[in-house]
Amino acid sequence: MSEDLQQIVLWLIPAAPLVAAIVTAVLGPKLLRYKSHLPCWSALAVSFVCSLILLLKILPSVEQAAPPEEVGVAISQTATGPQVIASGFEWFNVGSLHANIELRADSITAIMLTMVTGVSLLVAMFGSGYMSHDPGYPRFFAAVSLFVFSMCMLVLSGSFILLFVFWEAVGLCSYLLIGFWFQKPSAAAAAKKAFVVNRIGDFGLIMGIFLIWKHFGSLDFVTVLGNAARIAEVDAQNPGVIQLICFCLFLGAMGKSAQFPLQVWLPDAMEGPTPVSALIHAATMVTAGVYLVARCTPLFVMAPHAQMAVSGIGAATAAIAALIALTQTDLKRVLAYSTVSQLGFMFMALGCGAASAELVTPAVTAGMFHLFTHAFFKALLFLAAGSVMHAMGDVIDMRRFSGLKHALPITHWTFLVGAAALAGVPLLAGFWSKDDILAVLQEASRSETHGLYFGVIRVIAIGAAFLTAFYTFRAYFMTFWGPEKFPEEAGHHPHEVTPIMAWPLRTLAVCAAGIGLLVGPTHLFGDYLQKTMGLTPEHEHHLHWGVMLMSSIIAVAGIGFAWMFYVASPTIPAAIARTMKPFYVISQGKFFLDEIFMGLIVFPLLGIAKLATLVDKYFIDGIVDTVGKVPKALSIIPRQLHGGVVSSYASVMWVGVVTAVVLVLTMF
């Protein structure tokens, strides 16, 4: 494929959704109305096809074109791996900072792009059915297109500065879509909360970028990340600075990927339309943090403490989110907490490189693989939950409906596939990726230096995996099994999804079932990803039979417990809740994190703000008002001249003329 064609394909990926967003925003409200999905669909299809071309055709051809001896040999030189750069135009040029709008695609980008555009396309199709009859139909598709554009640019950006811009753009789209039903106070509050919490993370990210700029003198990925020797040099010159950079970047990732303690915004974000939850808060946007950490692997390699923090935070998040999910009764919230928990898994894996240098590549591979499979089955689960919600008349409380498996057969089967994949049932997508993560953790726990630390994390991971299986199937059983019960809002005749909503569900179900088997054990994914800059391709592949066996047992045990509790003898949960009342309350109350934040941060800040208001009102304003009164006092006499009477103006002028003339005349 020629160079020009490559560039066009690369530019088409973000450009198509941008054009769709503009067209929908301009024409949507008046002209397109309930056909607003068409530009979005076509743009996403174009993006998806271009991403596939990039993934399957362009990058392999680039790799072949590169001289073989250069790939991953000389560590002192800039090793970029196969990459395609589409040059754009100069954005600004200040001092030695040259910000160019240009796209850079390598393996990890291609994988992310394919996933983002593919899932987005399916979600957009589902959304056109789900959102039909909503007055904000054009707005929805404009925002979705804009979101896909931002996300594509985020993963395609070749420098930290562009990444930050679209990091913020993605946050903006998230705000727009969470607050889609802005008439609802809860939705508006949730959107604000997501935005504010993300600001904390963004603060860390931009601090990290400043530090990189200060110490590397460049923000280009290739310059900063591509040269391991340079990183080592910087680290030697400024001990600890790489650690600091990594902590800052990870703070950004924590905000965007909802890691403890910044995970509070994600469950509230379920106020948005369900396709949005599927798209942004499960499949794509929240993975930006994981992507950032994976992208910056060359930096994190030099910062083992930061990596351990990544793992630790991931483990804590996974455990806390899983425990909270146990007692939630809102179907979407269960899924939201499972998302937080799975993101925790990804970070757990990403941090394992601290144990030993050889583990870095498998760790990143495992994390990214989980991200990849998670996108499919979590989008599937959310869309299925959305179709439940659609059928139940927007009721999402699991206590108010049950036994839906006959009423909603397609939803039931697809949800089951997604739940099984999430729980880690063997051969499904989640099984392979979770297995990879557990294997990496097992390897890490054998390390001499940090063995104990990663041992603990591994135990937490196994526990969280068990809980995952349990709460997922708790939700499944509560929703689809048991006696048939519909809420009043559903009109007692729940209707199955329309074909336009059913086909994305089926497609995603097939993906969730098969994609792990297709690319996981065959190492297609790993081999492809490891060509990314900063990763070293590994050539030995072995399946971890022991880990697989263990995770199978865990998954089955979790499902079994869920069946026992919620199908076989439904009295058990209540009994347990009674006996372990405090724990139940803590879990039900989401560990009271919102309340703790409220008390620790919000209320003191409000107090300070009140104080500042008082100072502003009585002190500052007083000074300003006093200053303002001075000219007024001075003008009391002269303003009498300005009474609006023409005669008085004339007489003032006349007196002036007389004075001037008399002065001149008497000078003789």
Partner: protein, 152 residues
Amino acid sequence: MTPEEQRFLLVGAGLFVLGAIGFVTRRNLILMVLSAELMLHGVSLTLVTFGRMHQTNEGQAFTIFTLTVAACEAGLALSLVLSLYRKSHSLDIRLWSELRESDMSGPALDSSGDRGKLSSYEDIPTLTPAGIVPQNPPRAAAAENVPTSNRI
């Protein structure tokens, strides 16, 4: 300077000064315009005298230009006065005080009671009606119904 020229110049100055007094003190729009014309007369006389002193016709040529400008000014001033009169039904310059500071009270106006009472003349000439009597009530009658203070 001969006494001859001196006295003409003094008369010119006197006319100018009288016009200025009239312009400043009178409140009638038309009288203000007339006073300005009187000032122009003073200037014209001075110009003519200067021209004679210098043995040149430039003074008179200038005066002709002054005359032209005065004619233009009178025409425009009268049409402006007419349109102002149509809005307020009065020729009082004090009614037009929009330029004042917004928080200042307007200039003192006549109270409605003393309108004809203090007048030393009652038989002010008016235009005699001519032509066919219009079907609609004439404007003057309609104008009288509008109180003058409405405009302020």
